[in-house]
């Protein structure tokens, strides 16, 4: 069986959203990893997922201004940005690691994030027009 996309989910938001996803195909496409807060993710951990053959990694946390632990999402975002920089410097597609922000009610958004990630990975490097900086998404701009 092919390795799935790893989704590191904050248990206060993204994980609850994932639990409300009804489409089984979406859940089959991802391996959910429960975190107390996305502020727990480390750059080395994200890179290890790729090293172990996972096609992509998602870090899904609370909106930056609504993080249960106040700064967890913003810390995670910086680490994801650094991971993407490392990937780019190493000649890999930085889109293989992405962060997004959602509330516990955003099951539909969770589905869309996974679908977009799968499409990006299937297509290889995405077009510039499809890129959405993490900062924009953090403000809740991508609904």
């Amino acid at each position: 069986m092919d390795k799935r996309i790893v989704a590191f989910c904050c248990e206060n938001s993204a994980l609850r959203a994932a639990q409300n996803v009804e489409d089984p195909a979406v859940l089959e496409a991802v391996e959910l990893v429960r975190l107390p807060c996305t502020g727990k993710v480390e750059i080395g951990l994200l890179l290890q997922c790729l090293e172990r053959g996972h096609p992509g990694v998602l870090v899904l946390g609370c909106p930056v201004d609504n993080c249960k632990f106040l700064r967890g999402s913003s810390r995670a975002r910086k680490r994801v940005d650094m991971t993407r920089k490392i990937l780019k410097e190493a000649g890999l597609d930085e889109e293989r690691v992405r962060m997004d922000f959602l509330s516990s009610l955003d099951a539909h958004k969770f589905q869309r994030i996974v679908a977009e990630m799968r499409a990006r990975l299937a297509a290889g490097r995405p077009k510039d027009a499809e890129e959405a900086p993490a900062e924009e998404a953090a403000k809740g701009g991508r609904r």
Binding site: E42, I43, G44, L47, Q48, L50, E51, I86, L87, E89, A90, G91, L92
Partner: protein, 225 residues
């Protein structure tokens, strides 16, 4: 502590080309504190190298380990076997550690993954700043504990110069505080402004870089052979 930053990945990657078995060796002291070359950073760099190799179809075994310090001989013992198996060591220590690793394992190629910067302090998490130039003749008593050698861009002992504006240095007016403004403010706080009336004579720099590579010998501590 000694501070450092990682070299650009492209420079490191060029350096390790043609090495079949590479050991990325972290250092657990200064460069761990400044988050440049500790266990975590060694793991990240090793991962990035493996991913880059896989992407480019390059065959290279990348192993990683971290020792307490790369500037003391005894700490190398636990990794001796790994070093011997590797064709090259990519040291994530400061320049001292890289050179000493090369001395300990004579005949083994040791490559630097970091650019060593300065003796500094952690001003806040993620921010390090220079405090000492290692000149070998400390004058902090005369300047309220603020070093004119390290913190004045021109290392003036009789400052300030005309480039001090609004407390900032002309070398980088947006980011660099004038060392002499800091000295003045500190001496004023301490009630020691009169110290600035003393003219500092030209000093002997032979205890610093001008004297060539430094060496300290403590006769009472040297073990008999």
């Amino acid at each position: 502590m000694i501070t450092a930053v990682q070299k650009p990945f492209g420079e490191i990657y060029s350096m390790v080309q043609g090495v079949p078995r590479l050991l990325v060796l972290g250092c657990g002291t200064c460069v761990t504190v400044c988050m440049a070359g500790g266990e975590k950073e060694a793991g990240i760099l090793a991962s990035a190298l493996r991913l880059a190799n896989r992407e480019k179809g390059v065959s290279m075994e990348v192993e990683t380990d971290t020792i307490e310090r790369q500037c003391d001989r005894e700490f190398f013992d636990p990794v001796r076997e790994k070093v011997e198996k590797a064709d090259a060591v990519l040291s994530m220590a400061c320049g001292v550690g890289v050179q000493f690793c090369s001395e300990v394992f004579a005949g083994k190629r040791v490559l630097p993954a970091l650019n060593t910067r300065f003796y500094g302090t952690t001003e806040q998490q993620g921010v390090w700043a220079e405090r000492c130039a290692g000149c070998g003749n400390c004058v902090l008593d005369r300047f309220g504990g603020v070093c004119p050698v390290a913190r004045c861009s021109k290392s003036l002992l009789n400052g300030p110069c005309g480039g001090s504006q609004n407390g900032m240095c002309e070398v980088d007016p947006k980011n660099l505080q004038c060392g002499w403004q800091l000295i003045y403010d500190r001496l004023k706080l301490l009630g020691l402004l009169h110290l600035l009336e003393e003219n500092q004579p030209a000093r002997d720099w032979s205890t610093g870089r001008d004297g060539g590579p430094g060496k300290i010998v403590r006769e009472d501590m040297v073990l008999d052979s």
